[in-house]
Amino acid sequence: MLKLFNFPMSPEQASTFAPEHDALFYTLTILTVIFSTLIGVLVLFFAIRYREGSKVDRSRPIYEHMPLELTWTIIPTILGLIVFFFGARLFVKMRTPPEDALDVYVIGKQWMWHAQHAPSGVRENNTLHIPINKPIRLTMISQDVIHAFYVPEFRVQYMVVPGRYTTQWFQATKPGVYHIFCNMYCGGQHSEMGGYVYAMEPKDYANWLSNGGTDLVAKTMEERGAATFEKLACGQCHTASDTPKGPSLYGLFGRTRKFTDGSSQVANDAYFRHSLIDPYEKINEGYDKTMQVYDELSEEEILNLIAYTKSLGTSAEPKPAEPSLAPKKGVANPGSSKENQAKLAVGALAHENERPQPGPKPGNLSVGALSTESGAKR
């Protein structure tokens, strides 16, 4: 990786495309430097040497010179065609996924990424777990506007368009955590529509898959609820403090809720169940119809979610000022190097980094709490 003092100047090379891309990039950089220096030096040299009043030979100036014109037409054309060839060759490679690629289906929507692994059906939001040394083919579609799925460390990017499937493929070469950026302006929180690719050793990936997308199997109801909470990305709206998108779940259980029609109710199990499957019958004061309807949830999932909500504190308990969590090991952390740990902590769920996340109580849970990591570290 190139560095300027201690500052990186180039992205990591983490896919099979990266070295070839960078070879072309640096070749072009050298061409750019050579030609612009050539022009710059010539122009300045001529302008100073032939400045008015200087005593230099100006005899027999030329105004037309066909061989010269042809030279500087043909040489750039040939150079251009060579670069074109290598660029097109790399592009054709990028557009031709190998037969044995693993399929992952990606859905982009304002402002999150949703991925589903075939054939296991394991799903995740704003993260993408992949094995290294294995071609991965993404089949992508958008649910609303045009997005672009961009992983700079892999040197790949392709638009995610509503109404049609687009594909791209890549093969990671080393374990690590890499950026996912949405790189097509998609309104509002475009800059926060991102996440991380976790490139893992194949056996870690197999492990991850067999656990249904977590490193550890959920055992308690809270843990299962937390996993569902994470899977559905409830934390997008239900953060540690109330936002216009939704109330905080900390200490919500047992509190009296006021509705827009003037009635009120204590937030008990029945209230939570109803809020999930039919949120619009009664709207909480101060909110709009922003809650999604989750009537496809099983009763078991609902019970687990309620248990998780209770674990965030009931109204009897004081609201935690700052959720603090000892960093857990191994939440989908492939490299487990120091650097990767830090990266995870900074923005495991990049979206909500600004706000502390609602998360499970300290020491209580070990899964599905990616979002809490960011809160904890802050």
Binding site: L4, F7, P8, P11, H21, L24, L28, T32, S36, I39, V43, F46, A47, Y50, R51, D57, R58, I62, Y63, E64, H65, L68, E69, W72, T73, T77, G80, L81, F84, G87, A88, R89, F91, V92, R95, V145, I146, Y150, P152, E153, V156, Q157, Y158, M159, V161, P162, G163, R164, H179, F181, M184, Y185, G187, Q189, H190, S191, E192, V346, A350, E354
Partner: protein, 564 residues
């Protein structure tokens, strides 16, 4: 030139500035020179507005979590920056200001072919400008200046139709100017002004006008279709309604890529004038420079797909667009090489306009070459829509078009106002622009290569980007000062500047054979052109402050006399 020149007697003759002083005489004028001044004032104001938006963006990006603005506001600010700079400044700047002013003078005409259409062009531009300003004032638009669908048709709120209507209307002002230029160049050249005696600026204006006429109607239709979809729900671009969102990109770039040439070709024209006239030498390879303009104008229509390598157009389509994009780089290279050869064995006067021309050549070379990274498909996949692209097109638009514009403004300032600007400060300032510009945009190439996407408000998840944003903002502060200074000294020169003679630069061209500022009707007798373009005999300085010190004794000698 052996034209029947009016020597610029200093006796009180009404020139175009003093002939009628009322506001009405300005607002209802048919004089191309006055309309150019109206355009100069209005584009300068819009440039200032766009510059303030740019400043806000730069301040905001110094911190990974923003400094002043909410994300919603930030999105509106960068959209406004793009809208104002492109539609209200870059597209009209050189054609409507410099082209309007000097094109008829250069070809020996008394005005453009359709003076009223020319005035209508300015009014149309102002109406469009007011609509866009209005849209910005009542909440702004957060779609990006590109108005990509279906974000702009179905998902974004705010006065989008109003902003689109503004851009739509402004398009017509370019079309009017384009029609006018083409008719004028075809029909109103002075006797003896053959096609290959045309100054290269006129060739550039011709190429630009052709692009405007062929391209602008397409973007007008595209924008109109966006409005139709927003208002009536007829599905053109939204997939939910049966439309195709990528179709919009094809139609939009079919205009907006040639629009890049609408912005840069006129600057090429200005630079050709500056290089030839300040090297005081016939331009090297006149025919190559002239025809490369037409080649760019033609090929420019066949490369729009290079904006869309990763937007689901077919791979083979992409390959063709990539190939043609490499070819369109060649005519630009030809120009650069010919200009360099022109300076060789020249008699170079390093006045401010020439310094701008030299800056242009260095910056545009970098801008053009970094374009190859983006027309090469393999590298474009990684670089597209990152800050690398931002830096690249600013090199072309600011380092190219705006540097050319400023060079042209300084060059023709004596002709336009009858006053000289202060040479010393102007020279220093031109160099300052070069320094500030480089400091602003070189870090953006690096951060773009690292993967920083454009149009991002936050980047706290990638703190390694911050150092480059800070460097870029530091450069931008220099650039801001350097862009503001000319406004002050040029206005100062209107009142205190040295009076300009007819031909303060010893330049060659019909516009320098009439008084500064010219009369309302330019030429008392239509000149007859008998000599070749850029045909330089020895012409001396009329203004000692702008020439080498030792030439002082020549001051009294009127410049245009003694030619031939």
């Amino acid at each position: 030139m052996s034209a029947q020149t009016e020597t610029h007697q200093e006796e009180e003759q009404l020139n175009y500035l003093t002939n009628g002083k009322s506001l009405k005489s300005w607002l209802l004028t048919g004089d191309h020179k006055r309309i150019a001044i109206l355009y100069l004032i209005s584009t300068a104001l819009f440039f200032m507005v766009g510059g303030i938006f740019a400043g806000l963006i730069r301040i905001e990006l110094t911190s990974p979590t923003g400094v002043l603005l909410e994300t919603e506001t930030y999105n509106r600010v960068f959209t406004a920056h793009g809208l104002v700079m492109i539609f209200m400044f870059l597209i009209p700047a050189i054609p409507a200001v410099l082209g309007n002013f000097v094109l008829p003078l250069m070809i020996g005409a008394r005005d453009l072919a359709f003076p009223r259409l020319n005035l209508l062009s300015w009014y149309t531009y102002m109406v469009g400008g007011i609509l866009i300003t209005w849209a910005l004032c009542i909440g702004g638009v957060d779609t990006g200046w590109t108005f990509y669908t279906p974000l702009s048709t179905s998902y974004s709120h705010g006065p989008i139709s109003l902003a689109i209507l503004g851009a739509f209307v402004v398009g017509f002002s370019s079309i009017f100017t384009g029609i006018n230029f083409i008719a004028t160049i075809h029909k109103m050249r002075a006797p003896g002004m053959t096609w290959f005696r045309l100054p290269l600026f006129v060739w550039a204006m011709y190429g630009t006008s052709v692009v405007i006429l062929l391209g602008t109607p397409v973007v007008a239709i595209t924008l109109a279709l966006v409005m139709v979809e927003r208002w009536t729900g007829i599905g053109i671009f939204s997939p939910e309604l049966g439309g195709d969102p990528v179709l919009f990109q094809h139609m939009f770039w079919f205009y907006s890529h040639p629009a890049v040439y609408i912005m840069i070709l006129p600057a090429f024209g200005v630079i050709s004038e500056l290089i030839a006239n300040f090297s005081r030498k016939r331009i090297f390879g006149y025919h190559f420079v002239a025809f490369s303009t037409l080649a760019i104008a033609g090929l420019g229509f066949l490369v729009w797909g290079h904006h869309m390598f990763v937007s689901s157009q077919s791979m083979y389509e992409g390959i063709v667009f990539s190939l043609i994009s490499f070819l369109v780089a060649v005519p630009s290279a030809i120009k650069i090489f010919n200009w360099t050869a022109t300076i060789y064995k020249g008699n170079v006067r390093l006045n401010t306009p020439m310094i701008y021309a030299i800056c242009f050549m260095m910056l545009f070379t970098v801008g053009g070459l970094t374009g190859l990274f983006l027309s090469s498909m393999g590298t474009d996949v990684h670089l597209t829509a990152t800050y690398f692209v931002v830096a690249h097109f600013h090199y072309v638009m600011v380092g190219g078009a705006i540097t050319g514009f400023l060079g042209g403004v300084h060059y023709w300032w004596p002709k336009m106002t009858g006053r000289m600007y202060p040479e010393g400060i102007a020279r220093v300032n031109a160099i300052l622009i070069f320094i500030g510009f480089t400091a602003t945009f070189v870090p953006q190439f690096i951060v773009g290569f690292m993967g920083m996407p454009r149009r991002y408000h936050y980047y706290y998840f990638a703190p390694e980007f911050q150092i480059y944003h800070i460097l870029s903002t530091m450069g931008a502060s220099i650039l801001a000062i350097a862009f503001f200074t000319p406004a002050t000294y040029l206005i100062w020169s209107l009142f205190k500047g040295e009076k300009a003679s007819a031909n303060p630069w010893g330049a060659h061209g019909l516009e320098w054979e009439i008084a500064s500022p010219p009369d309302s009707h330019n030429f008392h007798h239509i000149p007859i052109v008998t000599d070749e373009v850029y045909d330089f005999p020895g012409v001396e300085y009329a203004h000692p402050s702008h020439g080498p010190k030792k030439k002082k004794s020549k001051e009294a000698e009127p410049a245009t006399k003694g030619k031939h």
